[in-house]
């Protein structure tokens, strides 16, 4: 198993590449969800204001 993490001496190149790509994927997922939540909340507030008038 330690051989797996050493990546034949290339660990310092392989793992940062995988790590960065994973971070980009996770940030994309969180970012998309947050964007939708924000837009939904803004739309909900607009609807509430309109129905009060």
């Amino acid at each position: 198993m330690s051989g797996f993490f050493e990546m034949g001496g290339y660990a310092a190149y392989v793992w940062p590449s995988y790590g960065l790509t994973l971070v980009v994927i996770v940030l994309n997922i969180l970012g998309a969800r947050r964007l939708l939540a924000k837009s939904r909340e803004a739309a909900r507030q607009r609807c509430a204001m309109r129905s009060e008038r």
Partner: protein
């Protein structure tokens, strides 16, 4: 009527509802494919006879680079449809593409740089492939900057769409750069008609990763486009029902 589908595609409430329904399917399919691709790429594929285990960077580098081009093409086509048919939904799709594309272009550049350091002895070179990919990142950032600089959403849609359409010339330049010019970067090994230059044990995980990233793009796009549609449908009566609960 044959054109009904086109009109339905242009209908914001319809697209909003479909996007909501399809998101989990694409999201989970992407997760399964990416986990399977990682397993195949890290554990099943043999080390390369020249590059050893360093070649495994391909399983994150090539899918990121593929995303950078595929997302840009989607963005430019959506923007063109939005301009030509004045279709709000198409602009919403185009706007949704940019942050996704920019982030994966960044990932492609950094993972490529890490790969290049050991293989070429340098993190960066003003090489045709690397330079045109960097220009792609600037195109995405310029598109996003332009959108946020123009306050009115309809004007932002039109102005940024022109930029996206013009910028498409960079896509074939990136793809063919390794063939047209003398580049450090290796020639394509997957997108070659007929004969990929990799053994199946290396190639199959890569194809699964490419599929997984593409499915992930669709899932992300479907979530983002709902937000963009809501922002454009300020006065529409269907919105109240869609955002209730």
């Amino acid at each position: 009527m044959a054109w009904t589908w086109f009109h339905r595609l242009g209908s914001p409430p319809h697209v909003y509802a479909i996007a909501r329904r399809l998101t989990p399917w694409f999201g989970w399919a992407a997760a399964v494919a990416i986990v399977a691709g990682l397993y195949g790429g890290l554990l099943l594929a043999p080390p390369d006879y020249q590059q050893g285990d360093d070649f495994r960077i391909i399983y994150v580098h090539a899918p990121s680079a593929w995303m950078s081009l595929m997302v840009y093409t989607t963005m430019a086509v959506s923007a063109a449809v939005g301009l030509i048919w004045r279709m709000k939904v198409a602009h919403a799709f185009a706007a949704s593409c940019a942050p996704i594309g920019a982030s994966f272009t960044f990932a492609a550049l950094v993972t490529g740089s890490l790969w290049g350091e050991r293989m070429w002895g340098t993190y960066w070179e003003w090489d045709p492939r690397l330079t045109s990919e960097l220009i792609l990142l600037f195109l995405y950032l310029g598109y996003m900057g332009l959108r946020s600089a123009v306050g009115d959403i309809q004007r932002a849609d039109r102005a940024s769409a022109v930029l996206a359409v013009v910028g498409i010339v960079n896509v074939p330049i990136i793809h063919y750069s390794v063939l047209w010019w003398n580049s450090l970067h290796q020639a394509p090994s997957v997108m070659q008609l007929g004969r990929p230059t990799m053994p199946a044990a290396m190639l199959v995980p890569l194809l699964i990763m490419l599929l997984g990233f593409t499915l992930l793009f669709v899932a992300l796009l479907l979530v983002r486009v709902r937000a963009e549609i809501l922002d454009r449908e300020r006065a529409a009566s269907w919105v109240a029902e869609a955002v209730a609960s």
